[in-house]
Structure formats: structure tokens, C-alpha cells
């Protein structure tokens, strides 16, 4: 038994699974093997109960009532800002902006930070493996500002080609936008190294952390991330809420992209002054119950042994890659040295959607498609892939169910 497997077996997955009722359900008559965590994770009882209890017993708006419930709601809400700040290693809770998710967070940075500062001829550097949510906002802002969008290429192994960095990172680069972990390949990108290079030319680093925060301890300051965005629902929390970390001095320079209640200090008919950071970026009533649920998700994750989680998930993804590679006809997409939580593959000539449908009949939930990363599909010359993505509650037996389902794919299409 390898070291990782030994840790994994000592790790009490059965206890964790009991906290996720959905994992006991059957799909198509088979036990559910939920391997679509990259799309959204399941939620533990603690999260749903925190959200539900708040909605049933404590509902009130935040920052705008003298009554007791409003005061309590505000306290709960502000506490989660502290929780997120400590979860990310931010210097201060005021560096955390609640958003509707990663997408909204990146769009806020693109329109509120980058757009006002960019001039024609400036450059925005992305990577070939970005999710559309860390690509399209930059395309939009580049078009509006007359800026040039460049990309760090991806190698056949599915890693960033840092040898090309000298060519694509220039004195004109103002923004470097990169995924911490690829949602298709699972590649853990060398954000720290990129940040050093970016800062050396005076660029600001925007990190899409959606696929990293469920799996890894993140320290935004150690990473050198100037902005860092993630979503609650991929880390055992509710949908509809996410967060943006922004270094204090950068948030001061960023302008709000939405105006309304809650983000102002004083308003006359003609003009207004904005509330301080971060409230000025949170116009309107926020998703309060969901923020409470996010707080519960962070506490739930912190209740686990972090090293054991990393070891367990690393064992799963390594085991999955090995088992899949041994299936006749399966071709893994990429082979990154540092892989986190995700394995993508194709099984030519069977289309990933057909594979997904057959796997579903086996109770195995995977994602089949382009995973909102069409440029990466083009890079690997595939129209789509099948993606298995893991969470802390998954098991080797579920990987085996996936492999067994693929045998059925062979039988039908072989």
C-alpha cells in the first residue's frame, strides 16, 4: 500500500458521507457515484441547516434596521466576511467582497478595475486553459479599451508553457488572469511564479480560484494574487454566492459596476458618495442566507483534517487517472505533474455525451461537454471531453463504478 492510500484508508470517508444525504440515493437503480463536483459539490447537512435555520428563524435584512433580527443578521453576515478572509489568508475582512459567484467577481474586476485603467495598446494576458468566465470578461474589456488579449499556451501535458512567458508577458501587460486549478485538466498552475513575473512588469494578477478552494489550503498573500475569486457552491456551500478577494489598495482604486442601495454614503438628486470598501461593491440586498451557508461550509471544511483531505483527494485522482488509462480506448487529456480533483478523457470514436448517458445509467454522474473551456478543447483538438471531478466524500469504489460503466460503453459502441 502506498503512503497516500494508507492515509486515505485511515481517513473516515464513511463518516463524511453520512453528512450528505444525497449520497445515499440511487440513480437509475444504482447507487449514485457523484463525480461532477467540478460543476457543483453536494452540500452537507450543516450547510443546509445553517441556511434553513437562518431563513426560518432569523430572516432580516442587513445593515439597515434597528430591530434585533436585523442586528443579528448583520452580525452573522459580517462574521462570514471574517471567515472568508481567514480562509483565504487575507489581511483584513474589508478585502472580501461578496458576489453572486466567481463569474460576477471576475466581471467586477474586469469592468471596475481594468476597464478604467486600460488604454489602447495595453495587453491582458490570459491562458489557453481558462474557463470562459476568466476569458470572456477580458475579451469584452479588451474590445472596449482597444487592448490586446494574449494567452500563455498549454503544453501537451496540460501545463502552462512557461517557456513562452517571455514572449507573451511584456511591458504593456496590465492584467494577468489565470486559473489556480484548471476545471478541465486539474492542473495546479504555478500562480506564485506567474505573479512574480507579472509584478515585475507592473501587471495585476487576477486568479480564478473556483476549482482550487474546495481542494487546497489557499493563502492569497503567499500566492501573490492581487485578486482572487471563487464560488461557494463548488466548496460544499450554497449556489448564488461567491467572493472576491482584492488587495486593499486595489479595491480602493476599483469602481463599482452596480449602483443602488447599500453601496452609498450619501445621495442627492444629482450625485452620491460611495460607501467604503467593500460595501461599495455590494449594491442591493445580498444573498444573506446563502452567505450564512457559506460560513457554515467554511467551518465544515475547517472541521476536517486538511492534510488528510488533500491526501485522500490526491489518492482518488491518481487512482482514477491510473484506472482510466488502463481502459481500452480511453485517452486522458493532459498529464499534469500537479493534478487536483479533475480527470478528463475521451474514448474515440464514442462521443462524450453518449458516454455520459451510458454512465448515468450506471448511477455515475460525470460532466460531458466543453466545460466552458472551448479554446482548450480546440488546443487538444477534441470537441468535448468526459470529466470526472472529485470531492472529499468520493471513494475508490466510485472510480470503479466509473470504469465499469466504461466497459458498458465499449459493449454498446465497440
Amino acid at each position: 500500500m502506498t503512503g497516500a492510500a494508507a492515509v486515505a484508508s485511515a481517513f473516515d470517508v464513511a463518516r463524511i458521507r453520512r453528512e450528505f444525504p444525497v449520497l445515499r440515493t440511487r440513480v437509475q437503480g444504482r447507487p449514485l457515484a457523484y463525480l461532477d463536483n467540478g460543476a457543483t459539490s453536494q452540500k452537507p447537512l450543516a450547510v443546509v441547516e445553517a441556511e434553513g435555520d437562518f431563513a426560518l428563524l432569523e430572516s432580516a435584512n442587513v445593515h439597515r434596521g434597528v430591530h434585533t433580527l436585523s442586528f443579528r443578521a448583520t452580525e452573522r453576515f459580517d462574521q462570514v466576511r471574517h471567515d472568508v478572509a481567514s480562509f483565504l489568508g487575507a489581511a483584513s475582512p474589508s478585502e472580501i467582497v461578496f458576489t453572486s459567484g466567481t463569474t460576477a467577481a471576475i466581471n467586477q474586476v474586469a469592468q471596475g478595475f481594468a476597464r478604467p485603467m486600460l488604454t489602447a495598446g495595453d495587453e491582458i494576458l490570459v491562458t489557453e486553459m481558462e474557463h470562459h468566465s476568466n476569458l470572456v470578461p477580458w475579451q469584452m474589456v479588451a474590445r472596449a479599451a482597444g487592448a490586446r488579449l494574449r494567452a500563455i499556451p498549454v503544453t501537451e501535458r496540460g501545463e502552462l508553457d512557461l517557456g513562452a512567458l517571455d514572449r507573451v508577458l511584456t511591458a504593456r501587460t496590465r492584467i494577468v488572469a489565470v486559473a489556480h486549478v484548471s476545471n478541465v485538466l486539474g492542473t495546479l498552475n504555478p500562480v506564485r511564479q506567474l505573479a512574480e513575473a507579472a509584478h515585475a512588469v507592473g501587471a495585476t494578477v487576477v486568479v480564478d480560484g473556483a476549482q482550487a478552494v474546495p481542494h487546497l489550503p489557499v493563502d492569497v498573500r503567499a500566492l501573490g494574487a492581487d485578486f482572487y475569486a471563487a464560488s461557494a457552491h463548488k466548496m460544499y456551500g450554497p449556489t448564488g454566492v461567491g467572493f472576491l478577494y482584492g488587495r486593499a489598495d486595489l479595491l480602493e482604486r476599483m469602481v463599482p459596476t452596480q449602483g443602488g442601495g447599500g453601496m452609498i454614503q450619501r445621495v442627492t438628486l444629482e450625485e452620491c458618495t460611495f460607501a467604503p470598501v467593500p460595501q461599495r461593491f455590494e449594491a442591493g440586498t445580498p444573498p444573506i442566507a446563502q452567505v450564512v451557508g457559506l460560513g457554515a461550509a467554511i467551518r465544515w471544511m475547517q472541521s476536517l483534517d486538511g492534510d488528510a483531505v488533500v491526501a485522500h483527494e490526491s489518492d482518488l485522482v491518481t487512482y482514477a487517472a491510473g484506472q482510466l488509462a488502463s481502459v481500452r480506448g480511453v485517452r486522458l487529456i493532459g498529464a499534469p505533474v500537479h493534478r487536483v480533483g479533475v480527470v478528463s478523457f475521451v474514448m474515440d470514436p464514442v462521443h462524450p455525451h453518449d458516454i455520459g448517458t451510458v454512465l448515468d445509467a450506471h448511477g455515475v454522474a460525470v460532466r460531458a461537454g466543453h466545460h466552458c473551456a472551448q479554446p482548450l478543447m480546440d488546443r487538444f483538438r477534441v470537441p468535448a471531453t468526459v470529466r470526472a471531478s472529485f470531492a472529499v466524500y468520493n471513494t475508490r469504489a466510485e472510480v470503479d463504478a466509473l470504469v465499469a460503466g466504461l466497459a458498458d460503453v465499449q459493449r454498446i459502441f465497440g
Partner: protein, 143 residues
């Protein structure tokens, strides 16, 4: 319980493996594209008319077994048909995939093999992708 054998009928598997009329067409009167941005399936359908009749129809592109087989069987079903007849086939096919209890009675049996798709709601778009492209070639005036 939805059995994948109901979905992947032998006819469908055959047309997926060896799609008929799977080619670009020179001298087509109309060409239309079917694209599903959710999954990236992308098919082009070419049609050449002889008066009101479909003299030749072909398709090309990439997609799953359902979309490819459906396009293939569509080409074999509509060739020689008038615009109205082809539209009626579209309507009947669409109804079969979306209406509970509709088994495709009245449709050619080769199209009725797709009745099983109704049990897989997320695959209905795959089966109708090429048909929607065909429909647009029938409705818009020839360019």
C-alpha cells in the same frame, strides 16, 4: 428506469458508425447550421431542390451518436419529399420526442427508433438538432 438499450437502438448505432449522406454538397440551394452551444455539437445540412421537392440532402459536422444518427436517418427520410411533406415529418418527429405517449405512429419506422430519446430529456436537443437546421432551409426563401 431508462435503459440505454432503448436509446441506443441498433439502427442508431449503425447510422452513427456509418452515417448516410455524410458529406458537404456542391451546388446546394440551401445550407443551414445546427449548433448546440451547451454541448458544442455542430452540424451543417445542405439541401438541393428540384422545384418543390428535395432532390438531395446531406450533412456534415461533429456530434454525439444521437445527433449524428438522427441527421443521417433524416436525410434518408426526407429525400424526394416536398417542402410540406418534410415539414410534416419534422412536426411528427418533434411531437414524438416531446409528447408523452406519442410513439411516432405515422412516421416512417426508421424515425420511430428515436422514440426512446423521450426518456432522456437532456438528449432531445441532440436528436432534433439536424431537423431544426433542415426546417430553416425549408422555411426561408431560397437564396
Amino acid at each position: 428506469m431508462s435503459d440505454t438499450r432503448e436509446l441506443y437502438q441498433l439502427v442508431i448505432l449503425d447510422h452513427n458508425r456509418s452515417p448516410r449522406n455524410f458529406r458537404a454538397m456542391d451546388g446546394a440551394d440551401r445550407v443551414a447550421e445546427g449548433y448546440n452551444p451547451m454541448c458544442g455539437d455542430q452540424l451543417k445540412v445542405w439541401v438541393r431542390f428540384d422545384g418543390d421537392r428535395i432532390a438531395d440532402v446531406s450533412f456534415h459536422g461533429s456530434g454525439c451518436a444521437i445527433s449524428k444518427a438522427s441527421a443521417s436517418l433524416m436525410t434518408t427520410a426526407v429525400v424526394g419529399k416536398t417542402r410540406e411533406e418534410a415539414k410534416a415529418l419534422f412536426e411528427g418527429f418533434h411531437r414524438m420526442l416531446t409528447t408523452e405517449g406519442d410513439t411516432g405512429a405515422g412516421l416512417p419506422s426508421k424515425l420511430a427508433v428515436f422514440a426512446g430519446v423521450r426518456e432522456f430529456p437532456m438528449r432531445v436537443k441532440c436528436a432534433t438538432l439536424s431537423w431544426h437546421a433542415l426546417k430553416s432551409t425549408l422555411e426561408n426563401p431560397a437564396s
